[in-house]
């Protein structure tokens, strides 16, 4: 399953919008052929450290990077060619053309999903998203509709790479970083010293205080001195069976829908 997913990725990423192409000087960027070639180069030159699909390993996770810190194309090119001094990232011996193919692949892998034209039916994905079968809205909201407990998805396409979203839906098994989508949003159950029991998702937690959103979407600001016991889930409370719950077609549709969720739809080219 995981291998299949990795192989499918270049295809998923191959049809790119020209939304951010204006900023790119090299023709390889967002070129489907170059991206596919870059994917092959990635598997042999990069995947050993950065993991399949860029999920990380000995080297940093590439898809979890915040978009605001994303390297520019020429910076990415330079990092691939010359390595990163002071780290284990070595220089490469690829030609200019190959390095640009690799840059194009990394850019497609790590750029926001709303920049990708995902091969699925977004309208069907929308129906699935709001259906009882997917039950996404039980935890997540889009533009104020849905539950407030889980992370808001109004900008999921505008802020996260497609790979990131796909891996959140179907986490790679037995991967130490499989819960990367958690991002500190742990499921917690709090037993207060006064007997009150609260269940929800921690928005933030330290030894001394806990900021919690419960299933009703209400916010609780808790002083740890008032807490008797705390249970913290070591994994996301997001269901892990979407890979079997959905057909491959349904998964593509859902991804296509989520990829269009952006706070700037008119400017990003998403629906």
């Amino acid at each position: 399953m995981r291998i299949l997913a990795a192989l499918a990725l270049p295809l998923l990423l191959s049809a790119q919008h020209d939304v951010s192409a204006g900023a790119s000087k090299n023709p390889a960027i967002q070129d489907p052929v170059a991206i596919a070639a870059g994917a092959k180069l990635y598997a042999t030159s990069c995947g050993g450290c950065h993991g399949p699909d860029g999920i990380g390993g000995r080297g940093p996770n590439l898809v979890r990077q915040l978009q605001s810190h994303q390297l520019k194309d020429d910076e990415l090119f330079a990092a691939i060619r010359y390595g990163v001094p002071g780290t284990d990232m070595p220089p490469t011996r690829l030609s200019d053309a190959e390095t640009w193919q690799l840059t194009a692949y990394i850019r497609a892998l790590t750029g926001p999903a709303s920049d990708s034209k995902v091969p699925g039916d977004a309208a069907a994905g929308e129906r699935l998203y709001w259906s009882a079968k997917a039950a996404c809205a039980d935890c997540h909201a889009i533009l104020g509709k849905g539950s407030r407990m889980g992370p808001d998805l109004s900008n999921i396409g505008g802020s996260r790479p497609l790979t990131y979203i796909r891996q959140a839906l179907t986490p790679p098994k037995n991967d130490p970083s499989r819960n990367f989508a958690l991002m500190g949003k742990e499921g917690v159950t709090v037993t207060m010293k006064n007997g009150v029991v609260l269940t929800g998702i921690a928005r933030n937690r330290s030894n001394y205080s806990l900021q919690l959103v419960d299933k009703q979407g209400d916010l609780h600001l808790i002083n740890m001195a008032d807490v008797k016991a705390l249970t913290v889930k070591d994994h996301s409370i997001m269901p892990e069976d979407y890979g079997t719950r959905f057909t491959a077609g349904e998964m593509r549709d859902l991804l296509a829908y989520l990829a269009t969720q952006t706070i700037r739809p008119s400017e990003t080219g998403a629906k």
Binding site: R148, M192, N204, N207, Q211, H220, L221, L230
Partner: protein, 531 residues
Amino acid sequence: MRIILLALLTVTALAAQVRDEDILKGAGENWTTYAGNFEGWRYSPLTQINLQNVANMVPKWTYHVPESNGLRTSPIVYNGVLYITNSNSVHAMDARTGRLIWRYDDGLAKRKGVNRGAAIYGDAVYFTTTDNYLVALDRRNGALLFNKKFADAETGTISTSAPLIVKNKVLVGSAGGDTGMRGFIAALDPKTGNEIWRTWTVPGKGEPGSETWSDLHEWGGAATWLSGTYDPASNTLFWTTGNPWPDYAGKPREGIDLYSCSVIALDLETGKLKWYFQFTPHDLHDWDAQSWPVLLEIPWNGAMRKVVAHANRNGFFYILDRETGKFLKATKLIDNITWASGIDDNGKPVIIPGKEPTVEGNWVCPGVKGGTNWMGQSYNPGTGLLYILTQEECGMFTLSTQKPVPMKNFAGGAATEPGGPVLIRAVDPKTGKRVWEYPVGNYSRMWTGTVSTATGVLFSGDDDGHMIALDAKTGRHLWHYNVGDTLTASPIIYSVDGKEYVAIAAGTNVFSFGLFEPAQPMALPAITMEK
């Protein structure tokens, strides 16, 4: 008692929506609007911190704002949550601990710039992006409810001010007046962001007031880059306007350039202009009429009179009639004023000739930062005094002979800011006279206003990066604390669980101060990791 309080806080209080009446009653436990109340007082009725114990005030927490620089935000607080803004972002934190609850970032915004704060209404927190989107976020988790563009950044307009929310209207202003744009105030629907009305501060071609301009007036500026005030009794908004553009070159805009450098009174329902008063006709020194107009009721010729008090960048302090805009009085806010010998009986400056910007340069007082600026004034009903940060800085004003081109960082000239004495001045609005003053530096780098309490403690900052507390009646020093950064925003006051806090965005951090309490050693709760 502690447990009961906590149970109330965690279960009930956080569920309550912010209603009109919550904002109307002004600051208290909460601080729900930019200036604390609709009248623009920046006053807190809280009494825990007083003249005696303020000496024991210590920082309770610090929150570092990532990617910030010279924060301009004035926090708002509601039910134990404190909200601040940075460029295109909002951060919500536990007001007792400074721990982040949620953060919203619009990484796709097309402009980056300063932001002066958020507003709260119903279950939503509102702010504007630099490129003029009104953004509504769920106050509990920061989830996006809607974002809607109310102006095009390609027309020179950007957004920097905190929205003001009154009776189902989100009022937003406009910035960018130093490079050419057309100012406005707009009322937007809090549910959708749709426009209810828009009032331009530079009249359109052929409209009344357009005859006060010559060329280029569609780029005339008169931006509205600071939140206004509101009078519930007459349902009137009061908003100040910025400089005409090009700032230093008067030739392309011969006339008095309405409604630049003015205060305008607008009907809340329609946005219709009720009256205006122009402080600096045909301004040539970039003396925007920021700060906000403070609404007071004071004894005047033997009767109580509703007035607007305003400390102006041009160096004078004004009292106007609130119902009609009629000029009542002006006094010198600062000592060094060289461009006008005074204000005449009609409220017009008596100009001293030869003080306009020239190609060679002309030394004028006050300088471009003005006698005061957007840090504004606060009012304490107990002392009856206004507290105004004033600057005795002069500057060299030069004129450019280039042809004005909008949106190209062209201001028609330039002005120097060499520094000069900065003083907090207490002004009696009944007489316009200064009652006391306290020196806060000589660099003129800071942008910190004042806030005061019912116990007569005044909080502000100084040019050296100190938060300070003074006796509001006398100006006597009570307390200071070095925040380690230049102060560029004003403090606010709130309370949670019966404890009073004074918070300020200081450069790149938010500090919250309160009375010293010894730490209570605590046993960490038992934590079970669930597989």
